[in-house]
Amino acid sequence: MGFKSYCFKKSLWLFHFGGASCNNCDIEILDCLTPRYDVERFGMVLVGSIRHADVLLVNGSINKKDKPRLLEIYQQASKPILVVAIGACGCTGGIFAEGNTFAGPVDQIIPVDAYIPGCPPKPEAILAGIVKLLGKN
């Protein structure tokens, strides 16, 4: 493993995109930053601007209004950027998959590097997903 990819893995900055979410996944993502799970141990922090982000967390079902916004956010990010789809809605569409306004799961809009299923996924599951993501590249 080279120096560059080592530094990249040790300092992943997260940007959180919530689609038409029921807010359960949002709360579970925030749980990862609390004292009990504390992802800052691995150098992960939430950043305010997509230009600084290394990981784009997408949760919630993506509807027709969300789709252009998600695409724009993805194009504004500085590459390399990893995309993680969180929750059943992000991965497949969940119970909204046959809805009128549904615009496809996340991986039909932008390339996705990791899926974390669950409704909502537990913080342990999110951490496990992040560990698999780090092992992948």
């Binding site: 120096f3 560059k4 990819s5 080592y6 530094c7 990249f8 040790k10 300092s11 609390t34 004292p35 504390d38 800052e40 141990r41 150098g43 950043v47 305010g48 601007s49 230009r51 600084h52 290394d54 504004q76 500085s78 590459k79 390399p80």
Partner: protein, 310 residues
């Protein structure tokens, strides 16, 4: 010539200030984590962040904006901090810099980083960055006068000396300035000025993360953002060193005094971090009133006390 280059680039110049500042930044984040009952990042986290931004991430230039100024502003910020660091650290190591009035020069050099952040933010053409830049400008206008009053108090206490080496020598021969009433008042005012200069939480409205999503730095990515991070790390070392030099006896490079200097530095950063972690962000109006009325009043009281020798 070789010696001067060594001073500027290695010790106590660019490299030393950057590495020490990075470790202080880790200290700041670790203390923050401990205050919140978390474990905190590993020791080399600031280095990982810096090298990731420098080597891995793509640099995006604003489509409609002054690209040259946008790229040059962070580099000027690093220049400004490096020069200020050298002017502060050489007298602290008891090396004669060879000109009088360097306190005034240090004051101007320490303004450069904030000014360049404003320039870079306005060059990016982002509306949120413009909001951040206007707040940063107001903040600069409110704390610079107070900071100048602190320096004025120090100059009066040292018997009209505007030479940093002289100021340190007077303290080391007598008592440190913080050992008097006016010195304590000046120290309190200086801590709040530092908080505003470093844009730490009570005064972090230029880069309010939840409100205007990183404000002045919103458009920065890749290498220029790495330079901004570097200048932030360096400021976190240079500004507490200035407080140590003008109020807390400076430092001596012999035996146990090296340990004392490190402890003084850590104590000041600890104080800054604790203030940062126990306060909410104030509005820009409140910050201006805080500095213009209360901090200026405190600084003027300290100056009057200093004139009467207290």
């Amino acid at each position: 010539m070789g010696m001067q280059l060594f001073y500027f680039l290695i010790f106590p110049g660019f490299l030393f200030v950057a590495v020490a500042g990075a470790f202080l930044s880790w200290f700041d984040r670790k203390i923050t984590a401990r205050v919140q009952f978390r474990k905190g990042p590993p020791l080399f986290q600031p280095f990982y962040d810096f090298f990731k931004l420098l080597l891995v991430k793509e640099t995006i230039l604003p489509a409609r904006g002054a690209k040259g100024l946008f790229m040059a502003a962070p580099i000027f910020a690093v220049f400004g901090v490096t020069l200020a660091g050298i002017f502060i650290l050489l007298p602290m190591l008891n090396i004669t810099t060879g000109f009088r009035g360097d306190l005034i020069v240090i004051f101007y050099l320490l303004t450069i980083p904030s000014l360049t952040y404003v320039l870079g933010a306005l060059a990016s053409g982002n509306p949120l960055a413009a909001v951040g830049a206007s707040r940063e400008m107001k903040l600069i206008m409110s704390y610079e006068l107070t900071f100048l009053l602190v320096l004025a108090g120090v100059i009066i206490k040292s018997g009209q000396s505007i030479d940093l080496q002289q100021v340190i020598r007077i303290q080391q021969e007598g008592t440190p300035f913080i050992g008097s009433i006016s010195g304590v008042l000046l120290f309190i005012v200086a801590i709040f000025c530092l908080q505003a200069k470093l844009a730490m939480v009570p005064f972090d409205m230029p880069e309010a993360e939840t409100e205007i999503s990183d404000g002045i730095f919103i458009e920065y990515s890749g290498t220029p953002y790495a330079m901004i991070k570097l200048s932030k790390y360096m400021l976190l070392f240079v500004l507490p060193s200035l407080i140590i030099a003008i109020l807390m006896n400076g430092s001596r490079l012999e035996g146990i005094h090296i340990l004392y200097a490190i402890l003084k530095l850590l104590a000041i950063v600890l104080l800054l971090t604790l203030v940062r972690n126990t306060n909410p962000r104030v509005k820009i109006k409140q910050a201006i009133r805080f500095f213009f009325v209360w901090m200026n009043l405190l600084a003027i009281i300290a100056i009057v006390l200093a004139i009467f020798g207290l």
